[in-house]
Symmetry: C2
Subunit: 596 residues, 2 copies
């Protein structure tokens, strides 16, 4: 039976108390963390979001009824305690911020009782994630999740504060928008007033923010919910949050400048981490060549080496065949891993096959300088020595090679590099390495559609010096696009936008859009562009991933209050769920008949 | 043909320039507001979100090619101008913040041309709203809309700043939630992975924020998008924005305190309006009795007077009949309106019929003290005099009466009071009168469902002193609920929540919910409540309406960047729209066959 809190007013949060409060009468409220009964003493730890304070009930000193009431407290009961702060009579608890003090109670109220929770409310509980998510309201009581959500709140606050000071306006754009077939799959919302018609939930506020630039808002931002109906991976959610911004009358440098200062502020004020500015930059080409990735993790080396020229004339058909097909041969040197067992190398080989590689060629340099290699027999000794030298191979090293089209080689070795770093424990979550990737290709060739598609989106500005290539070699045109990468994660990306009619027309032409097609998808934006467009550029961050990295978590689910699981359902609310037929009827919809 | 801005960097926004910049070389960028060609002089007004600056091209002084280029500028061209700031040679323009100065150009680039816009870009354009909304990107260039959106951004920033300082955490809750049949109609989102199942877009984060209190987050807020699929009225949108908050270990006074300080800060820092604290409070009962409304506009008087006792024994059957049926007779005194023409009174009569009244009885007191009245013949002179006295009637006044059930009388006279105030121009948009309404009824009787329904929601706490009435006279139980009213608009509302099992059970019982029904709707909240619930309370504001009042606008569409119209469609994007059959197929849905 719950008692009322009438007449009481909380004076402090638990974790706010310290030796400075000794002798004060305080009123604290919170959850019973634990309750130890020990020879006439009852120690009750009371918890709230700020921390834990110990309340000590003592036979002889505490009123008898109160002592009995305290002895009956169970974990997760909600209590209010009025008492006096005193220095601990027992040992100081170094693990608690309040470890020097305790509260000697004058009054105890049980505001709410609790059943025994299905798992203990404590840091790093090893409970299965499905159970945690079903009882998310209990999971969210754990101090690590509370820290994460407090960090997330602080990040959002700092971002808003910084961008406001920089003249950005936060402007809300619609959730119920127009569905477009291009890009990822939209979540649809049926219209009741227009049966058979649908809204689309936004994949990003891209078109709206460009419209706002046309409308003269100059600097826009929004921390915006976005939606993609894709099959989920570990780090994807059907709804996710972007820090979205757009600026007028700017070029690449301006966007980079404001974002570097924002990131530096963010990391300083939350984690006390100094981000050295300027953040290093790397072109897309260099990133692929050196790291096999457009989001390189530069916390460690193990870079790729292009050995195409070294092996061009060698006798190993896998190498020369790839080169003849216009591909390349590249390798990485796993320093000191020359003794890696064959079985482990085989596992790495099967690992790279997921990235399209047909295999992995290796050279293990023994401590005595001799080599074990999957392909030594095809190479002369001079060729092998040349290859080892090109790879800076030394006794004890393991050299791993892929030979294929560039894309396959990059993907495979890029992934292999990260996998090795994981196995060798080269990744330190306390280290934060930022990197800008610039000069992305404007277009990529889609085998499936047999045409070029936009690597970012059709409004991305080509680099001025490549404009002439749009006609002749569109695949070589570089874009004024940029990604910001943190520890091998793309945390944000954006571009300068096309603001000139003629460039935009050319772009649609290269993409194989007829004027009609372009209009049916982007009509209102193209219309808006008839009435005076400022040069503009923007960037969007994935907030979930950014906070995940800041919180040193492995999953974005640990920085989202109520996340969904892989099948896009919520284990706590059991959404999505079946609704009344009547509701469907109002929307002019029927469940599809089972296919025979 | 657009020129590039390469090599240029904006130095100031247009409206930021002042006499302090005289002699400086500046680079401004913006839209051509207008272009006047006058005897060898070309005056070009350049506009951005900060204001307008005049650029003067002068024959003889300006390079000839530049002069010609300037002469060719049209409205809404986007230009960059490099030039020197000088004091105006001509007359100072008092209407412009930059009216003392002008820019003498060194360079002019046309960054983007413009077709002639369908309506002029200027303050208070009298364009039809449908045209404005179709070309919203142009409408949003108008200074009044820009001011509104800048105000809205500032309001959100201040709210966040204040609440963060007060220990509130901003926590995002899901958009893809569980649909519940109770309350207003949900917008549904079909699931592709679970065909035939649906998410519901949130009508408010109510359940989530209560869960967050159970989880110990202590103080939560969110500026949250909410959705209701209802037929729209002038001040409704299918999606709207709430400032939503919830606090643990608090009672009514704490919620009121923090919100009063927030409102005072908000109005001071945006409008320089002082909100005198404490904000006055009125019980629901008093508000209905005095103003016939639970959101009284207290900028003017014209209060209701209950004359039931005065006319109880009179000969006018309309009055006595209403009283015998348990109703009442109440009137308002329209001071000085005794000469209102009969036709106008008839219009008021038909106006109140929309609110359920069968008619309006009137007494017009002539300047000579005689009366014209629709019912004088049923009253003795003494009765009429008593009635006039009760109404403080004086020569020249118009007394208007309604007789019916209380609810009908309140609704009619409450609406009539506002209508008269409008007609008599008693409402000053520059005056801001706040009011708390407290002690709402917990329940209201639903004729339709033949049971009590929750006036706020089923988790609203009854007042302690009325708990005993829950069994005996549930209709008389008052709730710990409160609304904050501004100038006759409910801008926010909330309540203390039930946190005790037994009270919640009783509440469901009174609402006629079986345990199963309660569970099927609120299962996860009731489950959460088993594990220790803190006393908690909250409040939510309608941000759109709040900003509308602050901006002195009549429609929330004027404070929303991309609003929808009455049929919930967007005139600019033409959402909602028809989608591919393939998309429906993936969702396991079909369009319903036309009914024969």
């Amino acid at each position: 039976m719950a008692e009322s809190m009438q007449g009481l007013k909380r004076s402090h949060r638990c974790g706010e108390l310290s030796a400075a409060n000794v002798q004060e009468t305080v009123t604290i409220m919170g959850w019973v963390q634990k309750n130890r009964n020990k020879g006439g003493l009852v120690f009750v730890d009371v918890r709230d979001r700020s921390g834990i304070i110990q309340v000590v009930f003592e036979e002889g000193r505490t009123d008898k009824a109160l002592l009995e009431k305290a002895a009956g407290l169970k974990a997760e009961y909600v209590v209010a305690v009025v008492g006096t702060v005193e220095r601990r009579s027992g040992a100081v608890n170094e693990n608690l911020s309040t470890g020097e003090i305790e509260v000697v109670p004058l009054e105890l109220r049980i505001l709410s009782e609790s059943e025994t929770p299905p798992f203990p409310i404590e840091e790093n509980a090893k409970t299965r994630e499905e159970v945690r998510l079903k009882y998310r309201y209990l999971d969210l009581r754990r101090p690590d999740l509370q820290r994460n959500l407090m960090l997330r709140s602080k990040v959002a606050t700092l971002v808003r504060q910084f961008l406001s000071e920089e003249g950005f306006l936060e402007i809300e754009t619609p959730m119920l928008g127009k569905s477009t077939p291009e890009g990822a799959r939209d979540y649809l919302v049926p219209s009741r007033i227009h049966p058979g018609s649908f809204y689309g939930l936004p994949q990003s506020p891209q078109l709206y923010k460009q419209l706002l630039m046309c409308s003269g808002y100059d600097r826009y931002f929004q921390i915006a919910k976005c939606f993609r109906d894709e099959d989920l991976r570990a780090d994807r959610q059907p709804e996710f949050t972007q820090i979205d911004m757009e600026l007028s009358f700017v070029d690449v440098e301006d966007v980079i400048d404001v974002n570097e200062r924002m990131l530096a502020k963010l990391f300083k004020e939350t984690l006390n981490v100094d981000v050295p500015l300027p953040i290093p930059r790397m072109t897309w080409q260099e990133a692929m060549d050196r790291f096999g990735s457009d989001k390189p993790d530069i916390r460690f080396g193990m870079e790729l080496t292009d050995v195409t020229e070294v092996v061009r004339e060698c006798g190993f058909g896998v190498f020369t065949g790839a080169i003849e097909n216009g591909g390349s041969v590249r390798g990485i040197n796993a320093k000191g891993q020359g003794a890696m067992p064959r079985k482990k190398i085989d596992k790495l080989t099967s690992f790279v096959k997921d990235y399209g590689a047909k295999g992995l060629a290796y050279v293990a340099i023994q401590e005595d300088g001799s080599v074990k290699s999957s392909f030594a027999k095809f190479l002369s000794e001079a060729e092998m020595n040349g290859l080892i030298q090109a790879m800076n191979g030394e006794p004890g090293d393991l050299l791993l090679f892929a030979a294929d089209k560039n894309k396959v080689v990059w993907d495979s070795l890029g992934a292999l590099r990260l996998e090795l770093a994981k196995q060798l424990e080269l990744l330190d979550k306390n280290e934060y390495k930022f990197l800008w990737i610039t000069e992305f290709p404007l277009l990529e060739w889609s085998e499936e559609q047999n045409r070029y598609t936009a690597m970012h989106h059709p409004f991305t500005m080509p680099m001025e010096e490549d404009l002439d290539l749009l006609d002749k070699e569109p695949g070589k045109v570089r874009a004024k696009a940029y990604d910001i990468v943190l520890n091998g994660n793309e945390i944000g990306g954006g571009s300068v936008r096309i603001f000139q009619d003629n460039v935009q027309e050319k772009m649609f032409e290269v993409l194989g859009f007829t004027k009609e097609q372009a209009y049916s998808q982007f009509g209102f934006l193209l219309d808006a562009f008839k009435y005076g467009v400022p040069p503009h550029a923007g960037l969007a961050y994935g907030l979930d991933r950014l906070v995940m990295l800041m919180a040193k978590e492995d999953s974005i689910r640990d920085v989202i209050a109520f996340p969904k699981v892989k099948d896009a359902s919520c284990l706590m609310t059991e959404a999505p769920s079946v609704v009344d037929e009547k509701q469907l009827e109002e929307l002019g919809l029927e469940r599809a008949k089972e296919k025979e």
